[in-house]
Amino acid sequence: MKKLLTWLCCAFLVAMSGCGQPQKASNQIEVWHWMTDRQEALEFLAQQYEKETGIKVKLELFAPSDAYSQKVIAAAQANVLPDIYGILDKKAIFASFIKAGYVADLTPEFKADNGAWEKAIFPKALDNNRFVEGNVDGIGPGIYGVPIDVTNIQLVYNRNLLKKAGIIKPPQTFDEFLAQIGALKRVGVTPFVSGFGEMWLLDCFVSNYAFNIMGENKVFATFRGEVPYTDPDWIKVFGVFQTLAKKGAFIEGIVTKGNKYAEQDFALERAAFAFNGSWCVNVYHDMNPALDYGVTALPVMNPAKPMKMWGGAGSSFVVNNNSTNKDKAIVFLKWLTAKEQQSILAEKTNNLPANRAAMSSLSKVLADFAKIVDSTTHPAIWPLNEDPLVVEAFDKGIQAIIIGEATPEKVAKDVQQVKEHQMGKKAQRSL
């Protein structure tokens, strides 16, 4: 016992002496990121960069993304942010970071050389990081972040399972979708799976249909409070879920399913359709390399309005405005988004590159995902976003519809109630 104690004492003293902060070299850029699947590729590129320019790029990975966000906020509070980091939050929070002076305005860099950098990157990806003239957050117009990849969320379908039900092409219209669901159920195949236990994914699906059914202007008008959620068009949106649920389209337990489990289900051929993002290519390949699947947009409900899928910048970096190595950081990001590096990243990690010129060497399915890169939409590029509390009531209401606990009309009323409560609070605050 005594020996153990003395040993512990020594360990304690050793630990005490093991403190000390590393020196911050001037020839070094510090990058904080959250992309676990890209750590290796980024390390590889960092080493290459050091060979080419002599500047050391220190990559630190903090995962999962919630822990990363917390860390960034804490570091901002203490003003110890690194040279390059990411803001994984809503546009409004992005705006707050800019207002607090933690984000460098990169517009001059993008516009330099006749806009060379700006032209090389997909416009939609830049739009995620752009604040336009007269935006609701009150930020001066410009580009404040650098996307290093793009992504989008579409409907994937298992060709084998569809064939089993006698279906050759994926559905183009909602009615076709319903018919195919019926056919699939008749041969004992679960039609549809998605990670609807995660609210953002549910939100994406429902907003795609909202835009399709009533057009985006009416949706934005609803956010502004000019159109109530009890409007017949919104009831139609909620009705989509009631219809699908009644038809038995959803896999068992879809409202408690995380996206990782949904991906498992699709990879293991437990469902014919899945709603997932371009990152799924990697996952499916790992779990079931023989999976034969294709990509398509969601089946259209209203032919008069477009069906726009969510997409845009996948991961973006910002530069710390207070950093002493600001210029070096910007140079590094320019290098990272150049054609060669983007090709390497795309190859090693199976993600869509942000640089248009690097699109040549993609796998077939990934290339299918890439077809809509120029026509996506995303909350970060909308003129305004709905209050998060209303969004929560909205998404939870849809979950209730899916499990049969509520009707579209009731959910509409509940959401409108929350909306009016929030609008009242906002009016009070601005007084």
Partner: protein, 281 residues
């Protein structure tokens, strides 16, 4: 006749107890069995192959987990953190618990209530102010800072547990030592601590587990890879979108082993019993 009935009753009771124990045992062993089994498979077969033992044993998953997850460094860090924090907590909390139980001083009750109440307020939002404070004290991104934070995390429960055990102990031995001329510290070290060995073993286990599995505070407080604990290494396989299940399971298995070893060593002390009134060591 009476004797037979007693034997049957006792036999039935024992059988029932054993069946009960077996059922619970199976439910406890199943996940660990699944974890080890999965660590020897591949991502493609892990959820599909339902055989009890996989056909191919991919032992290389362990090597991959160790190298790709940089386990060497993280392992060392986790050991340093766990040993230091546990040592610190046992020292600090046993002193405090002994005082709360046996010694008089002004504010004794108030302070004890404060410690107990501290367990009850979850501090999720307080991580940010804690980080700011640590920065001001120049303790952020240092081992010492993290160690002290973790000592604080386990302090309340440890004090409560130890005080309960000290209260239960009969003061005879302590009184005898006092008559023999021992001062407070000597009584604490030679009499109270050994008698409370079961309780101390429990808090060693409790805090070891907490520190070994801790992740959020480490992510928040530490920047450099070189200071990170084991859980950080595991995160590499548990990506936001993609999970390398078999390698993750291999990593988790390796992570679980030291803690089980700690438990095996400590649980012997829990069941030493009163017959070991003799001082240990």
């Amino acid at each position: 006749m009476f004797g037979n009935k007693y034997v049957i009753e006792s036999f039935a009771k024992n059988t029932f107890i054993h069946i009960f124990l077996m059922v619970v045992t199976v439910s406890c062993l199943f996940p660990i069995f699944w974890m080890v089994r999965s660590s020897l498979m591949t991502n493609a077969t892990i959820f599909v192959d339902h055989a009890l033992l996989p056909k191919e044993l991919h032992w290389q998953n362990y090597a991959i987990a160790w190298t790709k997850g940089n386990f060497g460094v993280y392992f060392l860090n986790s050991m340093i953190y766990t040993v230091s924090v546990v040592f610190g907590i046992v020292l600090v909390s046993s002193l405090a618990a002994y005082a709360f139980s046996r010694l008089q001083f002004p504010g004794r009750n108030v302070l004890f209530i404060m410690f107990v109440a501290a367990m009850m307020v979850p501090l999720p939002g307080s991580f940010v102010p804690l980080f700011v404070l640590m920065n001001k004290l120049h303790l952020a991104n240092t081992r010492i800072g993290y160690i002290f934070c973790m000592i604080n995390v386990g302090l309340s429960v440890s004090i409560l547990l130890l005080k309960t055990f000290f209260d239960k102990m009969s003061p005879d031995l302590e009184n005898a030592a006092r008559i023999d001329g021992c001062n407070r510290i000597q009584i604490w070290w030679h009499v109270a601590l050994p008698l409370a060995a079961p309780a101390i073993a429990v808090i060693v286990i409790y805090n070891s587990l907490n520190v070994w599995n801790e992740y959020i505070l480490a992510t928040l407080l530490l920047n450099d890879k070189g200071l990170m604990p084991l859980q950080r290494g595991l995160m590499v396989f548990n990506g936001a979108y993609q999970v390398d299940y078999p390698v993750l399971m291999a990593g988790l298995t390796m992570t679980a082993v030291p803690i089980i070893v700690v438990y095996l060593i400590m649980q012997r002390h829990i069941v030493k019993g009163l017959s070991s009134g003799a001082i240990v060591g």
